[in-house]
Structure formats: C-alpha cells, structure tokens
C-alpha cells in the first residue's frame, strides 16, 4: 500500500498536476471561513472619505488586495448591512474613525446635496477568494457603445481614455472600459460597471464631458481644439519638472510635473482680462495671483493651479501647467505625478468626446439576481456532479476508478478557476457555460481512458493502452478546439469569455489532468 502511494505520487504526470493545482490554489486564495470587513468599491470625488485620504481602489488590483473597512468608530464591521446601519445614522460635523486594512482614517462628516450625511464610500461584502465575479453574477451595468461615424484607431483610444477619465471623476473605479471589434471590422467600446444602476450610467454617458478652466468666477478657456490648440505630450515640454523635482511631504514624497499648452489668441485675451484684475500675493517664497486657475470637468472641480504673478494681465498663448503627485516613496510619487499629468492632458485634449457615441446594447443586472444565480449554479453543479458520479459508479462498480475520476474532475475545475484568478478574468454566465463544457468533455475523456485501459484490447502493455486512449482523446480535443477558436473573434467579443474558458479548460484537462488520471489508474489496477 505504502509503495503504491509512493509510486503514484512520484509519477511525473501526477507531480505536474499537483504543482499546477498548487499554483491554482495560490492564485485563487480561497478563504473557506469567510473574510473580515467590507471592501471599498469606490470613493466619491471631494467626499469626506476622499478628503480623509481614502483612495479609490485600482481597477487592476486583485479582489482580495483591495482596501477593506474593518471597524467603524470602534465597532467591528462584518457585513454591508453593518456598515450602512452605522453610516446612515451619522450626524453632520462629527468626526468618524474608520479603520481599514491599510490605515486608520478620521473623516469629518458633511451634508450632500440632498441634505443627507454621506461619507462618499460605496462598499460591498469582502470577497472570499481572488475570483472576479462577472456582471451577470454580481449585478451592475454593461453598455456597448458604437461610434456613429467611422473613427481612426487613435480617436478610439482617446475616446476610451476620456470616458475612463470621466467615469473616474465620478468616483466609479470598479469599471472596465475597453475597445472591442467584430468580424466585419466594426469598432465598439464596452463599459462594465459593477454595482451601478442603469439610470446612473445613462446620466453619466449623456454628459458632454465639458472641461472648463476658471479664474475666480470667469471662464477663461474650455477643453477641445477651439481654445486649447496644442497640448504638449513629448519629453521636451512635459514630464517631471526639473526645477521643482521631488521633495519631502507630510505623507511621504511629493514630485512636481509640468506640461505646456498653447491657447488660441481669443482664450489668451480672456485670460489676460481675468488675471488683470487680480492682486499679487506672496506665498511659500513665490509670488502668485490672488485667485487660482481652477479646472472643472462637468462642473466638478478636478484641479486647482496657482498662477505665477508674471502672468498678470498678459495675453500669453503659451502656458505652463504644473501640479504634483504624492507617494510614500519617491518612486510612487513619480508614478502618481506622471499619472496626474496624463489625466490632466487627456481632459484638456478631449474636453468633449471626439465622436458621437450611440448605445447599441445596455444590460443591467440586479445584484440580487446575480446572487441567486450563483447559489443556483453551485447547487446545479453539485447535483450534476453527483448524478454523473452515480452513473459511472453503476457502470464500473470500482472505487479505484470512481475516486480518481471524481478527483480529476474536481482538479480540472480548480485549474480553470485558478487560471481565471491569475489572469483576472471575470467569471460570468458564459464562462460558467464553458466550465460545464470542460467538465462534460472531462467525464467523456476519462471514460474513454478507463475503457481503453481497463476493458480495452487484450494487450498487457499499459504504455500502448494509454497511447491508444490518448489518441482518441487528442482527436476529440483538437476538434473541440477547432470549434471554439472562431468564437474568439465573433460578436464584439461578448462570447470571448466562453471561448477562452473552454479552450483554456480543455487544454488543462487534456494536457495535465487527464494524463495524470491515466497514470493513477494504471498504478492502481496494474496487478
């Protein structure tokens, strides 16, 4: 018995499977006993939370790595309900202490437009693994936009940048904005936002993306080509400001950036008139004008820049815009500074979107439906697996076959999920359909392997038996692969998830899990 176990676990096929399984589990990181706190989905601009320094989670960070709220005014938070019952009963002008997985923040409560106290945080139950749930399962809105006129690749990219910027300004960070195209070469823009209703997103997309720069109450220039004729993005007139560089800051390091823009003569004239009336004040050793240049996007303040005293009343067309980024280390500060610069440049270039977009597909999925789907699918998956195992048990009546078979199928599912977690796929219904297909072919192939080896030809050569079995399995694999490949490109990529899951899953199955099964039953049944 001991020798048999040793034989099985030292077989190279089994070792490869175990190594891959280990990697899969590491990337999924399942938390079997639940997870603490609630995770921050988004932080609204200029809200109490944003002012206290809570950052919007980066869309690329993995689900478990996002910032979690652990306690609220000293009370432990373990569900979304806990959080909202505390945050909904806040009074104005109080200090709230929020402890998160990263830091402890003090928030000062203030009223929003509707007269309620709103901290500006949206939260959701902390995920129990690194698997990303797609929109179908989590609830949210998916919009497929199509440019009304044909546009160039470059315009498409800048439209996407501008849309992303705009959605970020509204504090929506859990978003996917990407280009999609279909077989006939049509371009689309796909936006997916978790936890947002249809009404909100329609409103956002309806906005023009109006950029305004004001001095005091006067608008001096608007975004787009009419007022801003040129925005420098090359190294000679944009980048980290050599004169300012990086310096120590209470929160770490601050690095300054700059870039130059060219205004139209009319805009320059307006600026001259607006600045002419201002007083000169000295501050931090420099002399500036009494009012700042304030940048607005859709009437929301996005940045505030000091105006050097030398610009007072002059109609210069070349202006240098500067700002800074803060980070814990110099490297982080440099990255954040360059990011802020890029953001401002995008806003100025594409004050309004370069093309008109129309909504060609709009889906909203209610979060409760998503949750129901997930529970239901778990139930169905469990039942289907039980039925399949009953049928094979009736056929083979041999634990030495059934147990390895069940374990192989389970490991195939883990391999797919691990891969999905690793590459950051969203698991939606289409991907689940793919997993069903993979497990389905998995059962079929394991039956082929079993019959070829156990009940197959009257040869005693196991190598030949397994070779025979794998010949059939490979044939079936290649044909399925052929069937799935065209789907990668059809239909604006909406079926891509299905095709990718299937292709990846079947490949893992045929190349890793199923050969290991063959090796195991060979060892178990050889005598």
């Amino acid at each position: 018995m001991k020798k048999l176990m040793k034989d099985i676990f030292l077989n190279w096929r089994v070792i490869i499977l175990l190594v891959f399984l280990l990697f899969a589990l590491i990337s999924i990181q399942p938390h079997f006993f639940g997870n603490e706190g609630v995770t921050i989905r988004s932080v609204a601009v200029n809200s109490s939370a944003a002012r206290a320094g809570i950052q919007n989670p980066s869309p690329t960070s993995s689900p478990l790595a996002k910032e979690k709220i652990i306690s609220f005014n000293g009370e432990k938070i373990s569900s979304v309900g806990d959080y909202y019952s505390l945050s909904d009963n806040l009074k104005i002008n109080r200090t709230v202490t929020i402890e998160t997985s990263e830091n402890i923040y003090s928030l000062y409560t203030k009223e929003n437009e509707e007269g309620n106290v709103d901290l500006g945080l949206k939260v959701y139950d902390t995920p129990v693994s690194n698997l990303r749930k797609g929109l179908d399962l989590e609830g949210g809105t998916r919009v497929l936009l199509k440019p009304v006129d044909k546009i160039s690749e470059e315009d498409l990219e800048s439209t996407i940048g501008s849309l992303r910027e705009r959605l970020n300004v509204y504090g929506l960070s859990d978003i996917v904005v990407r280009a999609a195209s279909d077989l006939s070469g049509e371009n689309f823009i796909l936006i997916e936002i978790a936890g947002v209703t249809e009404g909100e997103i329609k409103e956002l997309l309806a906005k023009q993306g109006k950029f305004e720069a004001k001095v005091g109450n006067e608008t001096v220039f608007l975004g787009g080509e009419k007022d801003i004729t040129y925005v420098c993005r090359s190294a000679d007139c944009s980048g980290i400001n050599p004169q300012v560089g990086c310096s120590a800051h209470p929160e770490g390091v601050a690095c300054g950036f700059f870039f130059s823009i060219t205004l139209s003569p009319e805009a320059a004239q307006r600026q001259a008139e607006a600045t002419g009336k201002l007083a000169v004040v000295s501050e931090d050793g420099g002399s500036y004008l009494s009012e700042d240049l304030i940048l607005f996007l859709d009437d929301v303040e996005v940045d505030r820049l000091k105006i050097g005293s030398s610009l007072k009343g002059s109609a210069t067309t070349d202006i240098q815009i500067s700002g800074s980024g803060i980070g814990a280390t110099q490297e982080q500060a440099l990255t954040s500074s360059l990011q802020n610069m890029k953001k401002l440049q995008t806003i100025m270039i594409t004050g309004s979107l370069p093309v008109k977009l129309e909504i060609v597909k709009l889906d909203t999925i209610s979060p409760s439906l998503g949750k129901e789907f997930l529970d239901n699918i778990a139930l169905v998956g469990f039942l289907a697996m039980a039925v399949v195992l009953t049928v094979v048990s009736l056929r083979y009546r041999e634990a030495k076959i059934i147990v390895p078979m069940a374990l192989t199928l389970l490991s195939e599912v883990i391999l797919i999920l691990g891969f999905a977690a690793l590459v950051g796929w969203n698991l939606d219904l289409a991907a689940i359909a793919g997993i069903i297909l993979v497990v389905g072919t998995g059962v079929d192939h394991l039956i082929i392997i079993t019959d070829e080896t156990v009940n197959g030809e009257v040869v005693t050569d196991w190598k030949k038996k397994i070779k025979n079995a794998m010949f059939i399995v490979m044939g079936a694999y290649l044909t399925t692969l052929a069937g799935m490949t065209p789907l990668l490109w059809a239909g604006a990529g909406l079926l891509k998830g299905f095709a990718l899951t299937t292709i990846a899953g079947i490949s893992f199955g045929v190349l890793i899990a199923r050969p290991a099964y063959a090796a195991v039953i060979e060892k178990l049944l050889k005598e």
């Binding site: 139930l379 039925v387 094979v392 689940i432 070829e452 009940n455 059939i472 044909t479 069937g483 604006a492």
Partner: protein, 295 residues
C-alpha cells in the same frame, strides 16, 4: 426480443441507414418550412434580433398572464411576450420580451415598476440594438460555419482516409441540422448562448464518432461487430453521464442562458445516438465491405 433487435442491427444495417437520412430530410423540410413561413430559418430571440428583456426577480404576487394582458392593453402596438422562468418547478422570475429599444424601454420599465411597486434591484434589463443583433446573428453563424470546416479539416488530417472522415463530418452535420429542426419545433427563441451550444455540440458529437472510427479502423482485436459493440459501450456511458447531468440541470437551473444551452445539448445528444450508431456505423461497415471485396 433483444436477440431479434441485435440481429436486425447486425444484419440489416443497410436498410437501417434510411432512418438517419430520413431524419435529415425531415429536418431540412422543417427548416425550409420555417424559412418560408417566417423569413428566418430559426426563431431568433432578443440577443440575435434586437429588442429587450426585462427580468423581474421579485415575483411576489405578480401573475404573468395578468401582466401580459395589462401590457397588451397599455401598448397595443408593441410586440410583447411574458414568460416565466422556473427552477425546480417553482416560478423563480418573470421575463418580459419585447421589441422595445432605447426610449421605449424606459416607458415599459416604468410602467411595470409603478404597477407592481418594484425597487431598482428587483429587476434586470437587457437591451440589444437591432442592427447589432443582426450582425451578431450573422457573425455567430459565420463562426459556426468556420468551426465546422476547421473540425472537418482536423478529422481529415487525423484519419487520413476519405470515407471514414466524411462519415464523421456527415454525422456531425446531420446532428446539427436535425437538432436545429427539433429546437425550432420547441418554439424556444434562439439566443447567442444557443449558438454557443451548437458549437459545443460539434465537440460532443464528434467525440463518440472519433471513438467509434478509431476502434473500428485502427484496432485488430475481435470482429468488426465486437469492436463496434465495444465502442458503443464506452460511447453510451459517455452519453448517459452527460444526458443525466443535463436532465438534472434542466430541472433545477434558473438562468435562461444555461437552460437554453442544456435544451440544445439534450436534443443534440439524443440525435447523436442515431447519427453515430446507425449512420456512422452503417457507412463504416459499407466502406469496410467494399474494401475487402476490392482486395
């Protein structure tokens, strides 16, 4: 009885070949009729035609027939159909399919919302533009065609003999066509997921055919009939496991998308039994008979 069936199956394989071909002809007839009657060879759903689906998950006291008549009354010109989605025999959700798009959909949603006092989280809305729906349909069909051709190519390269390869390809083709015809008869509307199911079907259907052809052509143990029975034993176990899993899912699953995939696979796997064990077996035996005669 069993012996008699066995002797018919073993000896009368040529007349038996009529069954799959008859099925194929009937299927083609059904599809042509569908095309002549509706202008489309399949009943296209919202995702392939354009339109919208509102899914109400907080069913509460809403009755789907009442909802249907209410909506017909309020929107006499619109094409609206209300159906229920059930799981384990219970109504889990009510779906409203309509041709409404853009602004019309808001009116429809608001009507339902105020009528039944629903919250925003109680329902889901899916809207598909009609030009996108059309191009989706065209493209997924192209994908299906390309997939089929690629599959055929793989089979040809794999077996390197013309007749057995063509038999496998014909079996897959017949399976898809007959399944489509039966699907049409169910009256369900095809969605994108349904087309994905047809692609899955290529994979499932070819599996058993490859198994059969390999056993019959590339092995030397026993008679041809014994090898066929061997392949059948394995193949039937495969189909039986998959079919039983599908039946369980069909009964319990709540998602419309997955249910449609299951329906198509269910029909397809049943049809595949005929196509593999009567059509493909018959052609293989004819081929082997000719081959031995020629020698």
């Amino acid at each position: 009885m069993k012996g008699k069936l066995r002797s018919i199956y073993e000896n009368k394989y040529k007349p038996l070949l009529i069954i799959p071909f008859l099925l194929l002809i009937l299927a083609v007839a059904q599809i042509s009729y569908q095309y002549a009657a509706t202008g489309d060879f399949v009943n296209r759903g919202v995702t392939l035609k354009g339109g919208s689906t509102i899914t109400i998950t907080e069913v509460g006291a809403i009755n789907h027939q009442q909802l249907q008549s209410l909506l017909n009354e309020k929107f006499p010109l619109a094409d609206i159909s209300v159906r229920t989605l059930s799981s384990a025999g219970k109504v889990a959700a009510i779906a409203v399919d309509s041709d409404a798009q853009e602004e019309e959909i808001d009116v429809l949603v608001n009507t339902i919302k105020t009528e039944f006092n629903l919250q925003e989280t109680d329902y889901s809305v899916e809207v598909m533009g009609s030009s996108l729906g059309r191009s989706f349909f065209k493209q997924t069909l192209t994908a299906l065609l390309v997939a089929f051709l690629l599959m055929g190519l793989v089979v040809l390269i794999y077996f390197r003999t013309l007749v057995p390869s063509l038999a496998v390809i014909l079996a897959a083709f017949s399976d898809i066509v007959v399944t489509l015809a039966v699907f049409n008869l169910t009256g369900i509307k095809l969605s994108t997921a349904g087309i994905a199911a047809f692609l899955m079907l290529i994979g499932y259907s070819v599996d058993t055919d490859i198994l059969l052809s390999t056993r019959v052509l590339k092995r030397n143990d026993g008679t041809i009939m014994e090898r066929i029975y061997g392949a059948m034993k394995t193949g039937l176990t495969m189909s039986l496991t998959t079919l039983s899993a599908i039946v369980v899912s069909l009964f319990f699953v709540q998602s419309d998308i997955i249910k449609q995939i299951m329906v198509i696979l269910f029909i397809g796997l049943l049809v595949d039994l005929v196509m593999t064990y009567i059509q493909n077996v018959g052609i293989l035996r004819l081929y082997l008979e000719r081959k031995t005669k020629r020698r």
